[in-house]
């Protein structure tokens, strides 16, 4: 396991692939919002 530093300037045209989002109303997530698939957590398998 190692660490290296990568500097990314999000203001540069090369670094940004899309415009920032419009201002949205923030919602506090509820457990009902968590889908069965997210519940199962398929993003990191097999520790």
């Amino acid at each position: 396991m190692s660490e290296s530093k990568t500097t990314v300037d999000v203001a540069s045209a090369d670094a940004v692939t899309m415009a920032p989002p419009p201002k949205l109303v923030w919602e506090t997530p509820k457990i009902e919002d968590v889908s069965e698939q997210v519940m199962a957590q398929p993003y990191i398998r097999f520790t």
Partner: protein, 319 residues
């Protein structure tokens, strides 16, 4: 483009790897875990409780505690109880080697959505080939203790050349143990698995047969037991994530926050930043050109996943 994550004050799920340490040294491990592999800079109990408070304050609804093996962490129960007493729903991932009735009794007081036990074989010989030194009897006993306490049991199966011939038996075992979900997918070429890939990786034909078996068993056993195996591969998951990044935060044992499991980029450090700032950094990372390029590269070339644990800190410059 607007992402769904931009409208959320907090992630839906935080996956928290409490430690890299483990009491087993599994050949397929995606986190490079093994005995003595605790990182020197892992969060201590006080720091972990500060992270807990951050999650509670921002309103995270669901946290998965994993590792390594989370049960080897001395402050595991303190973290679980602090999260649970604040109403955060929990999933615990364990190898089941040290989950006894006493511990299950404490966990049963918490809002547990799932306790996931790894069963990577249905005979001791096959199970132990993939999980050297592990006891299948202990894992089964842990599963029975979970069910005896009326807690939700989930089984995960890491497919490999070593164990695929026992996949059907493990599914049947999961059903007979009373599991509510069977969780699997393509083996991840990350961590220890990247180094043992030649020994473990199933062939295309083996995967084809496995998926056919999963589809068949799903038709027979659902809804009594759910099947979760999609997205089947990391690449499928990353492709979907580029379109709509998942509202999930992956916290490493030292408090760093990873953008996605299969790439090395780190977007925040919970030792130095608040949870709110870490969530903001994660959302920004998905708009960051180099991160998106790394994800596209990982979709194109599976061998790059082997670098995912050589973490790289992104320093996103605000203007």
């Amino acid at each position: 483009m607007t992402y769904a994550i931009d409208s959320l004050r907090a992630p839906l799920l935080v996956t928290w790897q409490l430690t890299r340490d483990c009491d087993l040294c599994c050949l397929h491990c995606c986190t490079d875990s093994a005995p003595g592999k605790r990182l020197r800079d892992e969060l201590d109990a006080d720091e972990a409780m500060r992270v807990v408070r951050g999650m509670v304050d921002v309103g995270v609804p669901y946290v998965m505690l994993c590792g390594g093996e989370p049960l080897v962490v001395p402050h595991f129960m303190d973290v679980a109880e602090a999260l649970g007493s604040a109403g955060i729903q929990l999933k615990i991932e364990t190898n089941g080697q040290r989950l006894d009735a006493r511990l299950v009794e404490r966990l049963a007081r918490l809002p547990i959505r799932s306790i996931q036990v790894s069963l990577d074989g249905d005979t001791q010989a096959v199970y132990e080939r993939q999980r050297p030194g592990a006891s299948l009897a202990k894992a089964h006993a842990a599963c029975r203790a979970i069910r005896d306490a009326q807690l939700p049991l989930e089984i995960t199966f890491a497919p490999s050349k070593l164990n695929l011939h026992e996949a059907s038996a493990v599914i049947e075992r999961a059903r007979s143990l009373g599991a509510f979900r069977f969780n699997t997918g393509r083996l991840m070429r990350v961590g220890t698995a990247a180094r043992t890939w030649g020994k473990l990786a199933p062939s295309k034909e083996q995967y084809r047969a496995f998926r056919a078996e999963l589809a068949l068993q799903e038709r027979v056993l659902e809804p009594a037991m759910q099947f979760c195996y999609l997205p089947f591969s990391i690449e499928d998951g990353l492709r979907a994530a580029l379109e709509q990044p998942p509202a999930t935060l992956l916290v490493l044992p030292n408090g760093w926050v990873k953008v996605a499991a299969a790439i090395p980029e780190i977007c925040a450090d919970l030792r130095r930043e608040t949870f709110v700032d870490a969530w903001r950094a994660y959302r920004e990372a998905w708009r960051c050109g180099p991160v998106r390029a790394a994800i596209r590269a990982a979709i194109e070339d599976e061998s790059l996943h082997g670098r995912a644990n050589a973490w790289q800190v992104l320093q996103v410059i605000q203007v």
